[in-house]
């Protein structure tokens, strides 16, 4: 029991550190990629190749002046960014990061909690993710912030529906809500994306919307709303909002890789005939490569596509994504019935 608790503590703090580190360097990678797309260099002053840029940004954010509007709701104003950060970090608990480690004849899974409803757990956390933005936007007592918060909430509710409907078809095929089972079924190259390409596309689009990433970054649309929901935020409180966005991106890339691209599975994995420990480590790196790829897709889309207009966004969500997702569920059901 003691070893079990120790192991879980080490694992969860490791994952926490990993998501923070990844989020930190995503900011640098994003700026480098933006530079690449716009034919410039990107940050390269701090350290070799600009590697110390995230540190410099972090230090800058910490030392900036804390500012709070006079008319703000003090408690909620602080609660907003804290909640956003907390919720962003909660999701990683249910993701299987690799196979089982075997130490001293005992199996240690590389997953903090194998909940039998893992995928629903992730959706529950995603669905409450909007609270931080709404609370922050409202508590600032600023019209632009409020508009951003309201946009965020309606956007998230709309896209959540299509997202869950896209997942239902995957769950119908797998017959389980546990992420571990879903990954185990995609052994080798038997990935879900070959069977459910439509569901994957819907999920991808909705993931952009759920992370408030361009082309769906209307809650913080700077051409219309100054800074959107974080107009009134400064210093590390703003840093939390920005940081949580990168963590969310990392986690949604991980969920995408897990659900549709086989998680830690890779082709010809049976032919290697390695020990389970080596397989677990390789599996982790394979999953990480997939996550990096999806992170790149996120940035690629952001620096290539223009922003949607709000009515276009709503129309896309309700009139295209949801009917398409329902159709996908029905077709999946019919195919399963025939087989």
């Amino acid at each position: 029991m003691g070893i079990f608790i120790l192991y879980k503590t080490i694992l969860s703090s490791g994952i926490l550190m990993l998501s923070l580190l990844v989020a930190m360097y995503s900011t640098l990678i994003e700026r480098k990629i933006a530079g690449f797309f716009q034919d410039r260099l990107g940050p390269d002053r701090a350290g070799p190749w600009g590697l110390l840029q995230p540190m410099a940004d972090g230090i800058k954010l910490f030392f900036k002046e804390e500012f709070m509007p006079n008319t703000a709701d003090k408690f909620l104003y602080i609660l907003g960014p804290s909640l956003t950060m907390l919720i962003a970090l909660l999701t990683s608990a249910a993701i299987p990061w690799g196979g089982n480690l075997v130490i001293g004849g005992k199996e240690y899974p590389l997953q903090v909690a194998d909940i039998n409803i893992g995928i629903l757990y992730i959706f529950a956390i995603v669905s409450i993710g909007v609270y931080g933005i709404m609370i922050g936007g409202w508590a600032s007592n600023n019209k632009y912030a409020l508009l951003g918060a309201i946009r965020a909430s309606s956007q998230m509710i709309s896209y959540e529906l299509a997202m869950s409907l896209a997942i239902i078809s995957v769950v119908m095929m797998t017959g389980s809500l546990s992420l571990k089972d879903i990954v185990a079924q995609q052994h080798g190259l038997n990935w879900n994306v070959w069977y459910q390409p439509v569901a994957f596309l819907i999920f991808l689009v909705c993931a952009f919307a759920e992370c408030n990433r361009s082309p769906f970054d209307l809650p913080e649309c700077e051409t219309e709303l100054v800074g959107g929901y974080h107009t009134e935020y400064s210093s590390m409180k703003l840093g939390f909002y920005l940081f949580a966005e990168y963590i969310n991106m990392f986690i949604s890339a991980a969920v995408m890789a897990t659900l549709f691209f086989g998680g830690y599975n890779f082709p010809f994995m049976d032919k290697l005939a390695l020990s389970p420990n080596a397989m677990a480590v390789i599996g982790f790196f394979v999953l990480f490569t997939k996550i990096t790829f999806f992170g790149f897709v996120f940035m690629w889309v952001r620096w290539t596509l223009p922003r949607f207009r709000y009515d276009q966004l709503m129309r896309l969500g309700w009139k295209v994504m949801i009917p398409l997702a329902i159709l996908n569920v029905v077709i999946t059901g019919i195919v399963i019935l025939i087989n």
């Binding site: 709701d73 529950a124 709404m134 998230m156 509710i157 809500l177």
Partner: protein, 167 residues
């Protein structure tokens, strides 16, 4: 398990406190947020009863969707005024009588209820999604389908009401 007991008490106190604060908060936004907190505390109780599916669906549906819409509406209405206009006396009397009646009914219900624990208080596996699905789609298929139709009707009604009138 002592640990579960402590969690139970913590969640119960949290649920009661936040439910009270829903009524006592001055700002409507605070009330809505406290109501969300109540839902989380109740979801925690479901987890303690090993009904994880119910807990998660509770969070998704209530905290994730319904309360967000509530918050949305309250924010748009801008009910931010601190002072609440004092109610006339007769309204207070009516409220007290109505509330008291409800309390009498509740007391009546709980007095008639056998609180003594049964031999097997609850089956630990009953809340898992497999068993729940089996029960819903086998034993209670008709009520389940009927309530689905009810929801569908409500949805169609809402869409119809929300539609702009075409003259």
């Amino acid at each position: 398990m002592m640990f579960t007991k402590y969690i139970f008490f913590f969640l119960s106190i949290l649920a009661l406190y936040s439910a009270l604060m829903v009524l006592m908060s001055r700002k409507p936004i605070h009330s809505v947020l406290y109501l969300t907190l109540t839902f989380f505390a109740i979801a925690g109780h479901y987890v303690l009863l090993n009904a994880q599916f119910l807990a998660v669906v509770h969070v998704i549906v209530y905290a994730g969707a319904i309360m967000v819409l509530f918050l949305f509406t309250v924010m748009l209405l801008n009910l931010n005024k601190e002072e609440v206009s004092p109610k006339p006396v007769w309204i207070k009397i009516v409220v007290i009588i109505a509330g008291g009646t409800l309390m009498i009914v509740m007391i009546g219900i709980f007095r008639g209820y056998d609180v003594a624990l049964k031999e097997d208080p609850f089956l630990t596996q009953i809340g898992l999604v497999k068993n729940l699905g089996r029960v819903l789609y086998k034993d209670y298929l008709l009520p389940f389908e009927l309530s689905s139709i009810l929801f569908l009707t409500a949805m169609v009604g809402a869409v119809l009401l929300g539609k702009k009138e075409q003259i």
